[in-house]
Symmetry: C2
Subunit: 488 residues, 2 copies
């Protein structure tokens, strides 16, 4: 076990320092690298491939629900930001500006898009004339910029990748349906494919998107107990329609403003994936999202290699033919080194085949999620692998859900209790997690909680495990039951 | 035919004004729209979908040849451009600069990438230590910026979309092999999927990429006889390796500079597609690239609609099940209007089904490429459609090749003859096309030709139809046989 020990040493244990664990894992697994450009990272192939798989899963769902992709200019004239008051206040401090181009100073500064409601609103105003032009259902895959003070790879970078959907509808009802359809689409994708359990609900006004009427979110719990907002869907009402004069002639011959929505998820989903499933041995990827589902490694003395490979190669081909994303590692390293390496990279199943296995017509499957080793007959190896991938997917979701539920506190529902809870956690090393509490609806109460505990409202869940009746801060009547947590 | 006439009126005939035809088609087919941002366009869903299909075809080929995708920062520090002399001179005039961000003036200006050799070179220097780290085979799908004076949708815009491959190798031989592998990959994709015949060859030094040792290109002829460089593959030698100190310890224990390549195609391929296949009726899309391959339209009096739909729907399902990209148009417009509409949008096959067709157990297939109408039995409609799609793909390539060959002149190989050729074309309205001529290798000769005729060297074909022995300008001994043309 010597090899293993020195290996694990390179990754800081989660319990010792979660932030360092995170950085150690993403660098060792070669998901990203820092660059000389402030707050900008390189998405290295193994990191980018996770994004490609996220893209594929979402893009298919967007298209199945009638959306089409388009691409709008990245540069947005400064004047566009002025047209929606909350929007400009929300984004102005974070914008990078192009002020010179082609050897000349520009007459008007151009912002690097932080999001595209404004430029898209401007275009929609020209494309939409009649109710026959509605709904407009467009999505864009793009890079976006937010010059934030503190950055963290995948979670908060100056440039990141995302998709942003922008739709326009004839009625509020249709626009609200779209907002909810997408929230559910996000929930389905993230829970089903990424095995990340979510709390879905509505953001409080202080946490909503700058310019939205209502913002809805999916919120996940990381292994340090902190929350991560994994996606948002906004009902924008007629705010941008009025700012950009997006009007249509309705069936009743009246000129009306459209109702718009916007929604997005970003490369921060990669961060969520890592922090929900990873452990002290490195990454752990759910089978449906994993670029490599099975890593095949021949074991045993080199003199038996030919004998092993005679069964190894056909098994590789059979798995591949069955649609399993399989890779073989034939490098000249010890099996132990390879085991560590692929565990660290999060591959769900390791398949070992040695000379004695060949004699017994069997192989060994090692699960990344539980560490368990299972011996299976070579005759049924493909079916067993397929079944095991399903089982691992299910188990990873259940494990993450059990963890989240264990750290979701329903009895910490006053500021006093929350402070005591935090103090106790600091003492015992337990995680502060999520707390469910009532809220009277006053922004001041929310602000006080944040100020005193760094807990922010995550969302108002559609279906809370229980209803709270008094405000966490003022003790007045609760209008809403809210999840609070410290958040990324 | 009244309807048809007024429809065609909206598209300027190619022979009248090719540039106006181009703009008319791309706007009427809703491929793009202008924006208030100088030289930037919107890729509307029908235009972006062409790009998505180009991406899919290329991405599959890149991956099959061992390349992986990654993503590097869009912003490049000014100092990076200084590290390769030709590179900075080539791109500096076209760069947009970010000078302010997050409310502060930046200490160093950041360029919006025109291409990423510099930032990628900087990263490769850190990733590559040993021969074991080589080759590095990375591709990036990204937006890029070149603030050009005159812009033209898809062909020359301030922001455009592209892929850029960047590879590093231990030896010159391997890097040159890669350069050629990719050029061949591009040729295969563009000829096979886009049905665009190409001249492949090497760029002359004056036309090569800023910083490359050798640049190779695929060149296509548009329907106005002008050339369009459809893709380039560069052998960069050790230029960027030296600029960015990308060194590796070789097997012989010597520290050596790597040899790099870069290569790219962009959204200008959409422009090529339009200008190679389009006609006075609008777009014409080759079946393999067409987002919609078959448009199904029910015809005949409304009172028979139920009878027609009873056969129409199963046929639609059968085509879809067979993997054909089929769409039905059931809108309340006249069949004639729909015929025009889908012809203009370039759909390869229109399938008509009316009550009399149902009685005769048949349907009508109309070809976009030839206008021909074919009556086929409903029993074999799926097979006939599939075969016809193949036939149209083949025919579109052959037609484009015949056009190109007819406008490739082998006998115009002196400056005098070229001037006479141009004068004659101006008189008769013929296209100036491509000419094949000898070249002594002097940049001055090339420049003179350009100055006096606006013909530029396109490339030095690997396999010219004949060898030329005297220079087009000075009459001296020709070192190369070169395609010249006016170009986009
Ligand atoms: Zn309160
Ligand atoms: Zn000469």
């Amino acid at each position: 076990m010597k090899e293993e020990k020195s290996f694990v040493k390179e990754i800081t244990p989660q319990a010792e320092d979660f932030s360092r664990w995170y950085i150690d894992v993403i660098r060792k697994a070669e998901l990203m690298d820092y660059t000389p450009v402030r707050g900008c990272i390189v998405f290295k192939p193994d990191g980018y491939e996770l994004w490609e798989r996220i893209q594929a899963g979402l893009d298919r769902r967007f298209k199945e629900t009638g959306h089409r992709n388009a691409y709008f200019p990245m540069l947005i004239p400064e004047s566009f930001f002025q047209k929606e008051k909350e929007h400009v206040e929300g984004f102005n401090p974070e914008l990078p500006w192009v002020t010179e181009a082609g050897g000349e100073k520009l007459e008007e500064r151009l912002a690097l898009r932080p999001t595209s409601e404004t430029i898209i609103g401007h275009m929609y105003a020209q494309w939409i004339q009649s109710y026959r032009d509605l709904p407009v259902l467009i999505n864009q895959w793009a890079n976006v910029f937010r010059w934030e003070k503190r950055t963290l790879p995948f979670l908060r970078t100056s440039e990141f990748l995302w998709q942003e959907g922008h739709t326009a509808h004839a009625t509020e009802e249709e626009a609200r349906e779209e907002t909810m359809r997408i929230l559910e689409l996000y929930r389905d994708f993230v829970e089903t494919e990424m095995a990340i359990p979510l709390y879905t609900g509505q953001k409080t006004p202080s946490e909503k998107f700058a310019g939205a009427v209502d913002t809805y979110s999916i919120e996940a719990m990381m292994k340090d107990g902190k929350a991560l907002q994994a996606g948002t869907s906004h009902y924008l009402g007629q705010n941008f329609a009025k700012g950009f004069e997006i009007k249509f002639l309705d069936r009743d011959n009246q000129l009306k403003y459209v109702h718009t929505t916007s929604w997005g998820v970003s490369t921060r989903l990669i961060g969520a994936l890592i922090m929900v499933h990873g452990d002290d041995r490195g990454l752990a990827l759910p089978p449906r999202l994993a670029p490599i589902q099975v890593i095949m490694i021949p074991v045993g003395p080199p003199k038996f290699r030919d004998k092993v490979m005679a069964r190894f190669d056909p098994l590789f081909d059979a798995l591949k033919a069955a649609g399993v994303r399989v890779k073989s590692d034939l490098r000249e390293e010890t099996p132990g080194w390879k085991f560590n390496e692929w565990e660290m990279r999060g591959v769900p199943i390791r398949l070992e085949l040695g000379p004695r296995d060949v004699d017994s017509n069997q192989c060994v499957l090692a699960r990344r999620d539980t560490g368990e080793k299972i011996t299976v007959s070579l005759d049924e190896a493909v079916e067993r692998v397929q079944a095991l991938l399903e089982e691992i997917q299910r188990n990873m979701y259940e494990k993450a859900k059990a963890f989240r539920d264990a750290n979701s506190h329903l009895d910490v529902d006053t500021l006093e209790k929350l402070k005591a809870h935090i103090a106790r956690c600091e003492e015992t090393g337990e995680l502060t997690g999520f707390i469910l509490a009532g809220w009277c609806g006053s922004a001041a109460c929310e602000a006080k909680v944040k100020e005193q505990t760094k807990f922010t409202s995550r969302n108002i869940p559609f279906d809370p495990p229980e209803r709270k009746h008094t405000c966490i801060h003022c003790g007045g009547e609760a209008k809403h039951t809210v999840w609070f947590a410290r958040a990324y």
